[in-house]
Amino acid sequence: MLKLENVCKTFYSDGQPFDAVKNVSLHIKKGEIFGIIGLSGAGKSTLIRCMNRLETPTSGDIKIDGESVINMSESQLRKLRKKVTMIFQHFNLLMQRTVAKNVRYPLELAGVPKAQANKRVMELLEIVGLQDKADNYPSQLSGGQKQRVAIARALASDPEILLCDEATSALDPMTTQSILSLLQDINRRLGLTIVIITHEMAVIRQICTNVAILDGGRVAEEGSVDEVFTHTRSEAGRRLFGFVADHAKSPEAEAPVPMLRIVFDGMKINEPVISELSLKTGIAMNILYADVNLINGKRYGQMTIERPAKAEDAKLLIDTLTEQGITVQEVDA
């Protein structure tokens, strides 16, 4: 579907070259939700902009359905961009147009007759659940609603690929959840291929099937989300997941007992997760190892506890944590 081969992008500022993307090769399959995660400056935005040619790669090739986008003419590009649409961190809605007219914009570009376009707009607004806001202006909407409008707008031209550029980074966790569910829903219902770039692990974990970790413009690690998450190989990956500790020092190597690894990827610090868990379940826990960092008032890192001997106790713990949206992995000795 979407294939990147040795994509490089070099910027020049004051004559000094800066390699934003280095030799990135990715293969994104039809119908999947592909996540690209990395810290700021990792080159994610540049990379996703190369996919619809808002940026032109310095070298390498990008193929969509086997067709290279590198040498496309202006008019071919305009056609491509109706097939590969995009949503943004700051929504980028037209503030002087109503919600309905924002969604109608791509239809106007395509020259769809007005009556037909209006009908389609209402269908799209129904998909994102904003029919009643059709005549409102974006300034009257909340962040989540704005992103829904942006999604409706991106869907208007019946795209095959949706690029999400930090689409949830400006939203609070609750809204992020709902936007992610919406994306997942669209992916399932319309069979849309979605590429998400983000710096939030939670986003990747919630909806992505495959993930690539970008570090310093290179792909540090790539694979299915489960695999990358449970068997983080790269330094960049561990940094992102909050695993600062050297893998060699982790208790799994030493303690010969079954363990549970609790992963914190962005919880608020005022949530007493472990105490509550203990009080709720009535199970005493033996913390073997913990490495939690606070970044921007959020917790990142992991804690390893001894797995309760009783299977139902262990299940209860896992279920309770999963309910709270916390990842728990079983680690065998």
Partner: protein, 524 residues
């Protein structure tokens, strides 16, 4: 609650509408110095000229026909006079006198008496005055006819001259080859003859002059026909003036249409759209403010319109002149400045159509024009102004230099407004497959509309302040009045009044622009 304020709105609107209607009707119908008079004055003069030409041609034609008739009469009368005189002379020579009552019969009786050997001297003496009287009557009839013919010829000449003049006004470069013929067609003046001995000479003279008159009339007829042809051709050709005046004509008509079109548009909006909007949007506080604003401005305009007195007449005319200069020059400055501003933005480095050459060349032009003070620009442009506007000085001519001074300013203001548009939104438009034109018309301009409106108000007030220098190039306006009365006549009250009106105009533009800006602003 809304219902109440809606009713209040309508009550407020009714006097406003009445006032506007009154002012408008007064402006358009009664007032000789009304704004509509001015632009259509030229058209009216042209129409009057064409009408005068047509009338003159008709007159000429009629007069020439009359002249022909009169000349025929004159020739007939002269012939009759000639015949009678000849008969009388023959009778006199032969002693063939007519009877007492009828000269012919008396002559026969005298001849018979002479044949009979009678002395006819007494009878003959008695007969002569009778013949003389007869001849006098005939000759005076002839004279009258000749005089009438001559005066008719003069009429014809006058009518043709009028036709000629009318055509000359219309088409100054038209040539009339028939003119010399006309001047040659002079009519000899009549002498005064006395005594019976000169009957024949007089009669001959009259006859000669009748013939001359007839010849003259024939000449006049030929000349007239030629002039009439030229006149008619000129009148037909006049429908499409081919000279350079056409450009001036078009430009001035365009300006007039623009100014009055705008005025009519505003009135139409106020009368047709406002009530419908009122009912729907009265609860919108922005809208209430807008209605109040239009009401106050309408009230001020009506108040100004209905004032009288010399000073106020001066103020009225010059307020109109100020607007007459400001509105078209702002409009044309935007026609050029808006695209220029947009091009300056999109060709700048890192924008959607980066082009260093175009950007820097336009930038230099804009900076160059902006750095020349308006008064100097006004003088520098004299020749160009004459070429474009048909005149270098005067209220209408000033519009061109105002436009040249304003469009670079407008371009910079527009550039600033367009630059306010979020780059992300432009990127989103690109990501949706918009081309450059679509980005300009669907994103850049609509998204910066409130800022553009605000900028337009600023530009308009700047241009308004430039019009104060119009006096230096023969223009009128409040600025000139303030300068002339303040500086030359030391009539400070007039100066302050004119300045106060300028301040009021700036306030109206600024407040109106602000209201409009907030009304179209959905960004916050």
């Amino acid at each position: 609650m809304y219902r109440k304020s809606r009713i209040a709105g309508f009550i407020l609107l009714i006097p406003a509408v009445i006032l506007i209607l009154l002012s408008v009707s007064a402006i358009f119908v009664d007032n000789a110095a009304s704004p509509l008079n001015k632009p259509y004055e030229a058209i009216r003069i042209d129409d009057a000229n064409r009408l005068a030409a047509s009338t003159a041609i008709t007159d000429a034609e009629e007069t020439v026909t009359r002249a022909s008739t009169r000349v025929t009469d004159a020739t007939d009368a002269a012939d009759a006079a000639k015949e009678t005189t000849e008969t009388a002379m023959t009778a006199e020579d032969e002693g063939d006198y007519d009877a007492e009552t009828k000269p012919g019969e008396l002559g026969i009786a005298i001849a018979a008496a002479r044949d009979a050997g009678l002395d006819v001297t007494d009878i003959y003496d008695a007969y002569v005055p009778v013949v003389n009287t007869e001849l006098d009557t005939l000759l005076s009839d002839t004279l009258t006819t000749v005089k009438r013919a001559e005066s008719t010829i003069e009429d014809a000449v006058t009518a043709l001259t009028k036709a000629e003049d009318a055509i000359l006004v219309l088409v100054p470069d038209a040539e009339f080859e028939a003119l010399p013929e006309l001047t040659e067609a002079n009519v000899p003046k009549l002498g005064d003859l006395k005594g019976t001995a000169r009957f024949r000479r007089r009669a001959d003279n009259y006859v000669l002059r009748c013939e001359t008159a007839a010849t003259n009339v024939a000449a006049v007829e030929t000349a007239a026909a030629s002039i009439l042809d030229t006149c008619k051709t000129a009148l037909n050709d006049y429908k499409v003036p081919l000279s350079a005046t056409l450009i001036t004509f078009a430009v001035s008509r365009a300006l007039d249409l623009l100014v009055y079109g705008l005025i009519l548009l505003i009135i139409a909006l106020a009368l047709l759209v406002a009530p419908a909007w009122l009912a729907r949007k009265w609860k919108n506080p922005m809208f209430r403010k807008g209605v109040a604003f239009i009401f106050v401005v309408g009230l001020l305009a009506a108040a100004l319109h209905y004032t009288s007195g010399e000073t106020w007449e001066l103020m009225k005319t010059n307020t109109f002149d100020t607007l007459y200069m400001t509105i078209p020059s702002t409009f044309f400055a935007y026609v050029v400045g808006l695209p220029l501003g947009v091009i300056l933005v999109i060709t700048s480095p890192g924008n959607i159509r980066p082009n260093k050459t175009v950007n820097s060349v336009l930038g230099v032009i804009v900076n160059f024009l902006r750095s020349i003070p308006f008064l100097i620009l006004l003088v520098m442009l004299f020749n160009v102004t004459r070429l474009v506007m048909g005149a270098a000085i005067g209220t209408r001519a000033i519009i061109f230099p105002l436009f040249v001074a304003a469009f670079p300013y407008v371009a910079r203001i527009v550039e600033g407004s367009i630059n306010e548009v979020d780059r992300g939104v432009v990127e989103a438009a690109q990501a949706m497959g918009s081309n450059t034109f679509q980005i300009i018309t669907k994103v850049l301009i609509p998204e910066s509309l409130p800022s553009l409106i605000n900028g337009a108000a600023i530009c308009m007030t700047t241009i308004l302040s430039y019009t104060a220098m119009a006096g230096s190039a023969g223009g009128e306006g409040l600025g000139k009045v303030a300068v002339i009365y303040g500086l030359n006549y030391r009539q400070y009250d007039v100066m302050y009044l004119a300045s106060l009106l300028l301040v009021a105009l700036v306030q109206i533009i600024q407040i109106g622009g602000g209201l409009l800006m907030r009304a179209v602003d959905h960004r916050k």
